[in-house]
């Protein structure tokens, strides 16, 4: 094969009609801006927030769904129940549907003890509206925006969370906040950037929510055109919701002892059911050092383009469960490069009806207390086949403290059903 042949083959392949792009330029800018903010001073606060978020132990009563028909006191809580999204959209503009926005989380809507994120997307076009609801006293990931509002700063003046004390960096929001018409009798503010429109309002004493409207880059409409829509959406957001997220499994007692439900990702069916597609549980003793710059709770996440890994200090056990309604196909890397740098996670999969469930424990790579671990090889991982039951790819001699026994106990304690009607709303042991 000549060089000319190779050029022709690659060009033929690349020049074929491509499918519609799923790339979200606005989301890239927004995420980039927030990373810049973190880099420019927010990183210390962010890392502290990570440790804080995984170290806090949610009381057992919080982890259990609230009794049906017993709305909680909106805004008066110190934490949300990650299993029960506290808010829901009311009015949704025509042409929009409840759907996760790429760039925020591709796994679904996010429900944590501190923050709820929901979004609606245009069914055709790139527009989207994202709702962030923070619990009382929480600054979350949007503090750099909201801290520009004097009333917001005042409501967090006594906070011990360093994320609450930083002023806006000027990276995200370029214009001073402007007072908006009140929402449900409480103060509201516009925070506008050249790219999108934001409306922040105090939905309860000390508790704030934020709506962000993204306009397709092809639209020439002024950004303020979104304001009436945002105001209408904000005024109809329903707080104090009690509909629980449903899970197709129940964890055993062994895994949940001392663990914290950190984040639940979920989807919403056309009939309004909340179905979990990812649960993150974290062990209480988690610390991060090194190059990790992510605001996600994954201690091994890295934003470094060179692919450097964060080191993990102490035992880290992060359980991630991901489900998909799509068929499962494990794509294996055919090579194992020098230095054995190709990392294979401890992963297992189970196929239930049309739903694929994937299980993974962290850490999957890097060093623990300066020592490298011999994780499963590529070949071991690639031997997994979809749809033929449960395969656990764990070497029992991996000294990850209680990860392996807990993982085993978890698997023993799982019970599945393909029918969402039979899924449980209490994934943790009672």
């Amino acid at each position: 094969m000549s060089d000319h042949d190779m050029r022709t083959l690659l060009r033929d392949l690349a020049d074929r009609p491509e499918p519609a792009s799923t790339i979200d330029l606005a989301a890239a800018r927004r995420t980039g801006k927030r990373r810049l903010w973190l880099r420019n001073g927010g990183i210390t606060a962010a890392v502290a927030a990570i440790v804080l978020s995984v170290a806090v132990v949610i009381p057992r009563e919080l982890a259990a769904p609230a009794p049906s028909g017993n709305p909680t006191a909106t805004g008066s809580k110190d934490h949300f129940n990650p299993f029960i999204p506290d808010a829901a959209f009311g009015y949704v503009p025509p042409g929009y549907e409840l759907k996760p926005v790429q760039g925020l989380s591709s796994q679904g809507f996010t429900s944590t003890a501190n923050e709820l994120t929901l979004s609606v997307k245009q069914t055709s076009g790139g527009g989207s509206i994202t709702l962030d609801v923070l619990h009382k006293g929480d600054c979350g990931n949007v503090s750099m925006d909201l801290n520009l509002i004097p009333a917001y700063r005042a409501s967090h003046a006594g906070s011990k969370d360093p994320a609450c004390r930083g002023l806006g960096s000027g990276v995200v929001v370029t214009n001073p906040p402007v007072r908006a018409p009140d929402v449900a009798g409480r103060p509201a503010y516009w925070l506008n950037t050249p790219d999108w429109s934001m409306l922040a309002w105090q939905y309860a004493p000390g508790a704030w929510a934020l709506l962000e409207a993204f306009t397709p880059s092809t639209s020439r409409a002024p950004i303020t055109a979104d304001r009436p829509v945002l105001l209408k959406v904000a005024r109809t957001v329903k707080f104090g919701q009690t509909k629980p997220i449903m899970f197709p499994f129940k964890l055993s007692g062994a895994i949940a002892s001392g663990w914290t439900p950190n984040s639940v990702f979920f989807t919403v069916t056309p009939s309004g059911q909340y179905l979990a597609n990812m649960l993150e549980e974290t062990a209480p003793a988690v610390a991060v050092r090194g190059q990790g710059t992510s605001t996600t709770p994954n201690p091994l996440a890295t934003e470094d383009a060179a692919g450097a890994y964060a080191e993990v200090a102490g035992p880290v056990n992060l359980l991630t469960i991901i489900a998909s309604t799509k068929p499962y196909d494990f794509t294996c890397a055919p090579e194992n490069p020098p230095g054995n740098s190709l990392i294979v996670p401890i992963t297992s999969v189970r196929q239930i009806g049309g739903v694929s469930w994937l299980f993974q424990t962290d850490p999957k790579s890097a060093k623990l207390n300066g020592k490298s671990y011999d994780l499963p090889t590529v070949d071991q991982a690639c031997n997994q086949q979809p749809g033929d039951g449960l395969r656990v790819n764990v070497r029992l001699d991996v000294p990850l403290d209680h990860t392996v026994p807990s993982f085993t106990a978890l698997l023993d304690g799982l019970s599945f059903s393909a029918d969402p009607q039979t899924w449980t709303t209490t994934p943790l042991p009672g």
Partner: protein, 166 residues
């Protein structure tokens, strides 16, 4: 000032989006992963826009980010190894051209990522051996050997097909 930065960035990315997607597609061999890769790369580009703008070639800068993101994500992101696909994809009508493309794609997919990236950089991006070595952070000799191995693998995989066509 920030608005000007955003405008420059946006204009550049929009103008180069098709090229970025195609390079990413050749690296990943599926559009879903390609779009994820571009999403990740342009996000990183935003955070490094100051450097990129001042670089001799913005294209070269973003291509480096793209390629390194490709290797980085193959190493670190377990989810990238898991491909979730719709059960009933809208398959285009099969034709001789379509079959040939599938053969080429299948052959490329069998190549190790570094070999595949070497071929993409050398023969799609038209980089010299020296430029490719800088991009991949390896020696010129490694680029030459990876190129030779990659071409040989494709020759073996596609040889009978190409012989039929000729």
């Amino acid at each position: 000032m920030r608005g000007a930065r955003d405008a420059e960035y946006t204009e550049y990315v929009q103008s180069r989006m098709l090229w970025l997607r195609r390079v990413a597609y050749l690296l990943c061999q599926d559009w879903q992963s390609a779009d994820d890769l571009v999403q990740s790369a342009i996000t990183r580009l935003y955070t490094h826009w100051g450097k990129a703008r001042d670089a001799t070639s913005i294209d070269a800068y973003v291509r480096t980010i793209l390629v390194r993101s490709f290797f980085s994500e193959r190493r670190s992101a377990w989810s990238r190894r898991v491909l979730l696909v719709d059960r009933h994809l809208d398959a285009p009508g099969r034709s001789a051209d379509h079959d040939a493309r599938l053969d080429v794609q299948a052959a490329l997919t069998t190549l190790p990522p570094r070999q595949r990236a070497t071929l993409v950089l050398r023969f799609y991006c038209d980089l010299s051996v020296e430029e490719t070595s800088r991009e991949l952070g390896c020696t010129v000799g490694t680029v030459k050997s990876q190129t030779a191995k990659g071409l040989e693998s494709l020759r073996r995989a596609l040889g009978p097909i190409m012989a039929e066509e000729s």
